[in-house]
Amino acid sequence: MSLLRRRIEFIIFSGVHKHKMYLGHLIMVLLILLYAFSHTSINAAITFTDVTEETQISFKHTDGSSGRYYIVESVTAGLALFDYDNDGDVDIYFINGGALKGTKFKEPPKNVFYRNEGNWKFTDVTKESGLGDTGHGLGVVAGDYDNDGDLDIYVSNWGPNILYRNNGDGSFTDVTKEAGVENGSKVGAGVNFIDMDKDGDLDLFVSSYIDFTYEKHVPITINGIPAHVGPRYYMKTPDTLYRNNGDGTFTDVSTASGVGEHPSAGMGTVCADFDNDGDTDIFVANDMAEDFLFLNDGSGRFEQVGLMAGIAYDINGEEMGSMGVSCGDYDNDGWLDLYVTSYQEQSAHLFRNLGGCRFEDVTLLTGAAIGTMHHVSWGNGFADFDNDGDRDIFVVLGHLQENVEKWDDRSAFLVRNLLFMNNGEGKFVNVSEESGDGMKVKLSSRGVGFDDLDNDGDIDIVILNSRTEPTILRNDSRSEGHWLQVLLRGVKTNLNGVGAHVKVVAGDLTLLDEVHSGCGYQGHYGMRLHFGLGKREKVDHIEVRWIGGGVDVLKDISADQLLTIVEGGSISN
């Protein structure tokens, strides 16, 4: 009996023991998984997912690729994110290269326009919109120049530029000639709508690159391999400023304004109130030349003060091969800072605005450009991707020499883009490696735009890649941060509030942003301002300073919504 009992006890004990072992193993596995999961989520504060396929966007960029290596091939193109039909979501306009001499196409390539249908679906509406220009496109901007309530578009080309008036019915009309804004046959670059004289309508700033024609082409080789030449082989050209006459036409005031007195090799441009004096200034990133800061005297006369502002060159006094530029207040001190991308063997640069029209190159101090030195950097932007209350930086890269690895293996034609997370203490951390599969895309990128494409309260990204399809990145950051989005509607001032300052105060957090028309690399995005609030659940007050108008203050606003603020102080959401 006792033996049986012992046997039974043994069997029971063994069974229990076995179960205990299995349970122990299971608990260990669960703990490991929990650790891995929590560890991953702690590190990956920002996550981007590549959803390009899901969107069914089939646009494929061409740079002309004539085999002649014309300089204009290397600098196409920007893109625009804007709500063309006022249906509450952001649409996408891709600019394309053209059929250059020496290329052959079945059909001439054209710009392509996609309407956002919601839920990451986009429809090609190029034909019905009439926006399929076949010129060699370079830059684009959106702005309601006729104040009729919908966004119009201006495209800069190599050749005549185009102004498209939005008809309000899904179509656009080319009104370039009647408006008088063709800008000759130059090599276009960044373009901006700006209310330079605070008269309530949008004027137009048009940067130009260099004086290039086929006859002036300089074929070069590097180590015997044909290559793209740089801007120094061509004469520089001045920029153009058009004043809006208020009747659908513009007047060229380049000389009168002072802007036309400075020929250079313009690329990315951004217009903003850098000295907080209530008018809009202009920054021009010039390729292999000093960058310009045109300071507005309030009446539309500009003085070029880049050198005295400490922003013309890098900290060593050297020209940058400047490409794109964006502005944003990265340190929340109430002044708009600048980020300028550059060519190989020059990093991108972060310039901190010190106030009083003074800037300081803080690239090395902040770590905001590590990884850009050996690549060519293009489009970029400040955005609070994790809604933690400070602006991060995203930069797209990609060489313009397709064979660069043959003579310099430090660089590459196809490169991954970079994401710098703002640590809130004046420094940036390169988190590209741990921010999702969207950061693993390896192409040669040019323009980039940042907007909330799915209206879920975080900023997504659209990237134009040279010679191939774009990349669409959905922001899947596991952030618990609150946010606020602000859309402005001017009444006495320009309808989109271009140039207006918006200050958001939430507890101990004060954020500043401005509505820009045109920024980054020759592109346009972000007319809907996005503020990350961190843990703050409500906004104490919002102050809107309208260009040429007054100041409106709104109080006690809940977080996590899109607010439309109408000049005069009323809101809708």
């Binding site: 001499k101 050749g159 046959s185 086929y214 070069i220 590097i222 180590n223 004469m235 006094g317 003579w407």
Partner: protein, 472 residues
């Protein structure tokens, strides 16, 4: 009828007579018309193709000729083939040589192939782990790739092996700056200042670092030191301007910016110079020349002077402005007593570097050996003119006079000047000689005693001392 027949005959004869010219005229007319037609259509095509992008998708004549492109490709291919042959030769003739491995690594580096360069450098370190220059090169590659931690590791290793290498601490400081470690960077820069004879870069980096740290007085001090050492240092002017911009002193800032703008070179003008449009070809030549020069040293050390000379001559063809190559050729010719050929190399260097006192010194020495007194004298005088604070010109000219038994008083004056500038054993030796021939035995003995004191192991000086004592 007859008339008709005659008319017919007449017409026939006329036709026969005029047939050929008529046909000729038609041909000419058609040709002219056709040519004109082609010209007019081409002219239309040109009009549409000028200026902006064409709507017509057509091929157009290439801007560079095919034969030229082909010649360039062949040139590059030939250079590559020669490089490979030289590398194979090095690997074959010097299989265990760290120097050979370093040379190959350096070549790949110059070609922009840092991956291959690293492979050879690492092999070199396995053969000789004390190559601080290789660690230095590895550090530089890492730095350029923004791998700052790796750069710090490599450069620290180099300094462990050779703590006195100038410039390495400045490099290390720049890597620390890349990492945002300003304190560590400042420490290294201060160390570099203590050992460097040309601390311009260290002062500049200190100025820049203190500017970023907002220690404006220190920034100013270091930028100003740069300008003391090099008054046309354009970056220092920009740095000082930025200091004053941040100090809100616009007038002072403007002052420095004015100087900065004056010094700033004008933008490069448009050019079709070959070296501006065939980028890299000159570099490829120079890279191969550098490899050949480095390889020459290995063969020379082995005693294969013929191969050494072949390599240097090839290097000279590839890079005619390479003065190192010319110097090494000169030295090779001197080794085999081919003094006139050696002299020719220094004359070539003189054309390339007309203010190089070292070159004139060698010209003087070689002319002395060839007993060309006047040429030697002119050369040494030029050395004195170009480098008045160095003793070599004075000493060698004195020596020439003493050897030639002319201008003996002047010789003494010259070598006294040499000793004043640099109190070396050799200068004292020549002074002793000059004093003796001028009859001043006491001074001669005093001078040679000083030479002995400075170089006690040199038997020559003791012999001279004894000789002077014996004679007198």
């Amino acid at each position: 009828m007859k008339k008709y027949r005659r008319l017919k005959q007449c017409l026939f004869a006329t036709a026969k007579f005029t047939k050929l010219p008529f046909i000729f005229c038609i041909i000419v007319y058609v040709t002219i018309a056709g040519f004109t037609g082609i010209e007019s259509s081409r002219g239309n095509e040109k009009k549409t193709q000028k200026g902006g992008p064409t709507q017509i998708l057509t091929e157009d004549p290439d801007f560079s000729t095919e034969p030229f492109k082909l010649a360039l490709k062949q040139k590059i291919a030939a250079l590559k083939e020669e490089e490979m042959k030289l590398i194979q030769e090095l690997m074959r003739d010097f299989p265990n040589s760290d120097e050979a491995l370093v040379l190959i690594g350096d070549l790949y580096r110059r070609q922009g192939n840092s991956i291959e360069a690293m492979k050879f450098w690492e092999k070199a370190l396995k053969v000789n782990p004390r190559r601080f220059d290789v660690y230095s090169a590895i550090g530089l590659v890492a730095f350029e790739k923004e791998q700052y931690e790796n750069a710090v590791t490599a450069w620290r290793k180099a300094l462990e092996i050779n703590p006195d290498v100038r410039g390495l601490r400045t490099n290390l400081a720049q890597a620390f700056l890349g990492l945002g470690k300003h304190t560590e960077a400042i420490v290294e820069l201060e160390k570099e200042l203590a050992i460097s004879s040309q601390p311009i870069l260290s002062h500049f980096l200190l100025g820049r670092t203190y500017l970023q740290l907002k220690e404006f007085n220190k920034a100013k001090k270091h930028y100003e030191m740069v300008l003391d050492l090099q008054p046309d240092h354009i970056k220092a002017y920009y740095g000082l301007a930025n200091v004053y911009i941040q100090l809100k002193q616009p007038n002072k800032a403007r002052e420095y910016l004015t100087a900065f703008k004056k010094l700033k070179p004008k933008d490069a003008e448009f050019t079709t110079d070959r070296d501006k449009v065939e980028i890299g070809v000159v570099t490829a030549h120079q890279a191969l020349a550098a490899l050949a020069i480095g390889t020459e040293k290995l063969y020379r050390d082995r005693g294969d002077l013929q191969r050494a000379e072949e390599l240097l001559k090839r290097a000279q063809t590839l890079d005619p402005n390479n003065t190192i190559c010319l110097e090494r050729l000169a030295s090779l010719y001197q080794m085999s007593d081919r003094i006139p050929e050696a002299l020719n190399q220094f004359k070539k260097i003189r054309k390339l570097k007309p203010k190089d006192s070292f070159c004139y010194l060698n010209i003087g020495i070689l002319n002395t050996r060839l007993k060309r007194f006047d040429d030697a004298e002119k050369a040494f005088q030029k050395v004195i003119e170009l480098a008045p604070k160095k003793s070599s010109g004075y000493c060698y000219l004195a020596r020439l006079y003493l050897r030639s038994n002319v201008k003996l008083t002047e010789a003494r004056g010259l070598v006294e000047k040499a000793v004043e500038l640099e109190a070396t054993a050799d200068n004292y030796f020549v002074l002793s000689w000059a004093c003796e021939v001028n009859g001043d035995i006491a001074s001669a003995l005093a001078a040679i005693e000083k030479a002995i004191k400075l170089e006690p192991e040199n038997p020559k000086y003791k012999q001279i001392y004894e000789l002077i004592k014996k004679k007198n």
